[in-house]
């Protein structure tokens, strides 16, 4: 059964500007981790706030755990206030209460329990997030990573059915980020908590989430597994936002889609004669050096384990290719391009 | 008790309780334990001795509310016929005139009061009576000024006094009364001329009679206009203070005088006591106490002035009824504004 259901939810902040959330419909299964991915201003944080109850929609319906928590229509407005929705939130700035110890912070939502039960639960949850002996500390005495764990612990302590995370890792340094991602995922899985988290970092979304929703200006462009999003983007926006992409013009013929660098299978069964753009990701494109090659290396970016090459084509178009750094090619080398593409994604040429 | 609503409620109840306790203390009981007179007074110095003497003599308690005159008016008006006040005492005849005009004071038929207080120091309709008198006259520095150069208030407009005069601001009630009586005496155009003369001499404006006297002594100016009792008090502290009063207008209309005084309120609850009170205050005994403690002139001519005051010599007063101070006060204020007397 779906834990979270949004139906045609719309939210407008300015009457004469486009809505922040535009007729969004979404269903999240129990135990699922969903990532909302999108550029800033795409409405992802607004969606979280709508679910939590800090904003109310102008239109549409939200149901949590089978219960209607908010419905907006032309005449009626029904809403359950945030404190009754049993939704946990981890904020971007953690929002740890500075005047309370870690224990007191974590205990904050546990007023329904007896004192003994509360103590037990705090111990349990602090152990879960790996902060067992830090209960007496104050938030400002902790490192960033520790603070985030406290925020997580606090949100999870009342065992909410749903956890919302708003760019939870953006305040951490890069190496810590990866570690925390794993931690958080571990905790979520072990508690079976359904989670929605908002991020603009695609790698983050792909690593943790079961499904990813890509948002653009309040609209859900695509919702699916990370591989699907990456390899089968539904729209050009998704293609460009998630991972790098180049688009090569091509024409559909009876043999396939003819492009400058070769012919691709017409997987999407487009009509012959149609003009399309073929999406190519850097990891789709390889090359071999050859003095009669059609392509030429224009630029080389060393990225550690791999190197990104920008290749120029006779027509003037460019594609990128990502190669392991063990084999190094210099700028100006002529190359033959090879695209052993398994997924062929095309979009109509505008 | 947990929610802030409860806390706020508690706090509100607490405040309410405090307020209630304070208010309940003031609910008038059926009968008063002792006889009393409730006094609203705009004058709050030099009268305790006289009040105590009254209580000792008659057993009547005096409950006083001190305040600014203008505010006391408003309170009396707002309280209407429920006011606890029996007597209103205030300074400056203009205020008394105003109170009578507003219907706050009622006429008193008392031969004793009429006998003790000279006619020009009380209301022609017997609604108020002056109790102490003060003169507002020219004060000068004995080391710098020859008294032969001084004569009248108008003469201060003479160019020889340019830059040598200290005055109170025009907003000061006693100045306004001075101008008001001048208007009654000489008419507005002449008074305007006189004040223009003062202003032309670029007087230094200092907002305190005592400060004016100190300024004269220090040499910031040579002459000034102040009330007599301030000088008397300074002399009482330092007998060698180099400032002396000059009775203005002795050859003409007489020096301007003003009073502090009182009357019985229209809705007085203890009318008989109030009249007794006023009569006592006008008696030679009480008048002597006023003269001795506050160093003013007693309104009752039978009482003796303090030696310091006596040393200044006999005073010819302007015998125009002091009510003129009130009659023309508004006009005086406007006049001052018109001629630029700040």
């Amino acid at each position: 059964m779906s834990l979270v259901v949004l139906s045609e939810v719309t939210k407008r902040f300015h009457p004469d500007r486009p809505p922040a959330v535009d007729r969004l419909s979404l269903a999240i299964a129990r135990g699922e981790i969903l990532a909302l991915l999108g550029p800033s201003g795409s409405g992802k944080t607004t969606i979280l706030r709508l679910i939590a109850g800090f904003e109310s929609p102008d239109d549409g319906r939200i149901m949590l755990g089978g219960r209607l928590v908010v419905e907006a229509g032309h005449e009626r407005m029904t809403a359950v206030p945030p404190e009754q929705r049993q939704v946990g939130i981890v904020f971007q700035d953690y929002a740890l209460f500075p005047h309370l110890t870690v224990e007191a912070n974590v205990a904050f939502g546990l007023h329904a329990l007896t004192r003994a039960a509360r103590g037990e639960r705090i111990r349990e949850i602090l152990h879960l997030v790996g902060l067992a002996d830090l209960g007496r500390r104050y938030p400002h005495e902790l490192s960033g990573g520790q603070q985030q764990r406290v925020a997580l612990a606090r949100a999870l302590a009342p065992a909410p059915a749903l956890l919302l995370l708003d760019e939870p890792f953006s305040n951490l340094d890069a190496d810590l980020r990866a570690q925390m991602r794993d931690e958080v995922e571990r905790v979520l899985r072990s508690t079976g908590t359904t989670a929605i988290f908002v991020t603009h970092d695609q790698e983050e979304a792909f690593t943790i989430a079961d499904r990813v929703g890509v948002l653009d200006r309040g609209r859900l462009e695509q919702l699916g597994a990370p591989e699907t999003i990456y390899h089968e983007p539904a729209t050009r926006f998704v293609a460009e936002f998630v991972g790098a992409a180049d688009f090569l013009p091509g024409i559909v013929t009876s043999e396939g889609i003819v492009t400058e660098i070769g012919t691709f299978a017409n997987v999407q069964a487009r009509a012959p004669g149609e003009r399309v753009r073929v999406m190519l990701r850097p990891d789709d494109v390889t090359f071999v050096a050859g003095h009669d090659g059609e392509g030429i290396i224009l630029r080389r970016d060393f990225r550690g384990s791999e190197t990104l090459y920008r290749l120029g084509l006779p027509s003037g178009d460019r594609v990128h290719s990502s190669q392991p750094s063990s084999a190094a090619f210099t700028v100006g080398t002529r190359v033959h391009l090879e695209v052993p593409a398994i997924h062929v994604v095309t979009f109509p040429a505008e | 008790m947990r929610t802030p609503r409860e806390i706020s409620l508690l706090a509100a109840i607490l405040c309410g309780a405090v307020v209630l306790i304070l208010s309940l203390g003031l609910l008038p009981t059926g009968t008063d334990a002792a006889e009393e007179v409730v006094l609203y007074s705009g004058r709050h110095y030099g009268q305790e001795a006289a009040f105590e003497a009254f209580t000792k003599k008659t057993g009547i308690q005096i409950r006083t509310l001190n305040g600014e005159t203008g505010q006391l008016f408003e309170r009396l008006k707002a309280e209407g016929d429920k006011t606890p006040a029996d007597v209103l005492i205030t300074v400056d005849a203009g205020n008394l005139w105003n109170a009578a005009r507003a219907g706050l004071l009622s006429p008193v038929a008392s031969p004793e009061l009429q006998k003790n207080i000279p006619a020009h120091l009380r209301d022609p309709e017997n609604r108020w009576f002056g109790l102490t008198m003060r003169a507002r006259t020219i004060m000068y520095n004995v080391t710098k000024v020859n008294p032969a150069d001084l004569s009248t208030y108008d003469a201060l407009g003479d160019p020889r006094w340019k830059g040598r005069i200290c005055l109170r601001t025009s907003g000061y009630i006693y100045n306004q009364s001075l101008l008001a009586t001048m208007i009654k005496r000489h008419g507005e155009p002449k008074t305007e001329e006189i004040v223009r003369g003062w202003v032309a001499n670029q007087p230094i404006l200092i907002n305190g009679d005592t400060k004016i006297l100190e300024a004269i002594a220090a040499g910031q100016c040579d002459v000034g206009l102040t009330n007599t009792y301030y000088l008397a008090r300074l002399l009482a502290k330092s007998p060698n203070f180099p400032v002396v009063p000059f009775w203005a207008n002795q050859q003409t209309t007489g020096t301007h005088v003003n009073v502090s005084g009182g009357g019985v309120t229209t809705h007085a609850k203890n009318r008989a006591n109030a009249i007794k009170f006023l009569e006592f205050l006008s008696s030679t005994e009480a008048q002597q106490m006023f003269a001795d403690t506050s160093l003013e002139f007693p309104a009752n001519p039978k009482a003796e002035v303090h030696p310091i005051v006596k040393a200044w010599g006999p005073l010819k007063q302007d015998d125009i009824n002091v009510a003129a101070a009130g009659e023309f006060q508004a006009a005086a204020t406007r006049l001052a504004d018109r001629v630029g007397y700040r």
Binding site: V80, F91, N171 | E79
Partner: protein
Amino acid sequence: MLIASATGKPIVARLSPWTLAAWGIAAFVGIPLLAVLASWRDPAVDVWAHLWRTQLAELTMNTLLLVAGVGAGTLTLGAGLGWLVVAYRFPGRALFEWALILPLAVPAYVIGFAFLGLFDFAGPVQSALRQWFGDAARLPELRSGPGVALMMTLVFYPYVYLLARTAFREQGLATLETARSLGRSRLRAFFAVVLPMARPSLVAGASLAMMEALADFGTVSIFGYRTLTEAVYRVWNGMFDRMAATQLASLLLAFALVLLLLERALRGRRRFTQSQRRGPGVDPVPLRGWPAAAASVVCGLVLVLAFVLPIGQLLLWAADVIRSWRLSPDFVAWLGATFLLAGAAAVMICVLGLTVAYARRLHPSPSVRFAAQCSSMGYALPGAVIAVGVLAPIAWLDGVLGVVAEWALGRRLGLLLTGSACAVLFAYAVRFLTIGFQTLDASLGRIPSSFDEAARSLGVSVGGTLRRIHLPLMRGSVLTAFILVWVEVMKELPATLLLRPLGMKTLAIEVWERTSESMWADAAIPALAIVAVGFFPLFLASRLTSDAWRR
């Protein structure tokens, strides 16, 4: 915020007890303001014509200049001193930090009078100068516009100082470090980052100071400086025209409105943004040599001018009478009355102010914002005008109650409300609500909204959030607000004078009775008592606000 309904039934939206409370409070304190405006139903045309011809332009200009001068002066002095004691270490800093608030303990006109007494032509300083340097030696005339503005700046800067210091301290390491890491020196970081972030507090403090300057009568009267407020009294007492005076007072309301609009514009529309690392606070930098000496000298000079000198003068006066003075039961009664009124008013105003501030946080709708601003207007009105504005409705209510009581009990009662503490407390609320509100509102604004949301998401209601999150974090502010109101009420004169119960006298009234007859020696002891009573709370406020929410 929508009212709960888990069953899904339709509800009326947008109305909450907090909003109603805010409107209620605004209406309550607005009554005397309405009374002031109501005076226009019978315009005193001739008085206005006269004023227009003779002095209205000058009065308005004078008032404008004074208010602007005081605003600029207190901002500079208060913010400057606040930053000095927070960000740097120099000799005497620990003392100055709390001592610079002390001028609040002394009534403004007392400071003014003492100052004048010392520096006037006839005073000791100029007399000494004349002795040493001959008759030509003079100081610039203090009884002038700049003189009054300077005086009031010295008297009112603590409002800005107090709020600024709290704001600067609470900004924390993060803000300053961020700016520093971007390559700015400490000083430039101050101007570029810290100052703008402290804007709400600074503007709140400055607007308090400016409204005080607007409503002041005592000091401008002593200095002979003609402002609108002075004209109000002049018309009232000189022309016997209370209606015209009240109409003139409505001009003050207009000024106050402009001030409030200005303040709103300057505060900025940002609610609050701050990273979570609001940690141990700004680390003070030790100064050495010239800068250290300069810092100490500046602080010392301000303290001497604004506090030590006036108190010294009072002590000198007191010395004259100390031998014959006795602790009478009357004195104890005055002390008690002062405490009682000040305490009751402070509690009441903190509760009301918190309600309005919190309502505004929950529902920043235009109507609630307007209500908040209405409740702040009373500060700009002279106490006497408020007192009269309170008198009329209370007297009316008394009349109504009298009729009801007579019908119910069959006997006539005297005055119930008029001349009871009710009336005085009402006037205090009208006059001083803004102090409580501004202080609490500025502090509330420093709490990020994510805290509210975190608490709500953890199942805590709106009221519970206030109690468990906001109030603990605002402890210093609540106490500061309490103490500021306490001190103000202790010093308050005109409203207390008019509205107090028969037989109740406060220390301030005793001081006034003596000084209105230039009997300064007799006034000195009760004046010093006022200072003493305010001294310790101010000291406490200072210590407590220096450690915002850490143990």
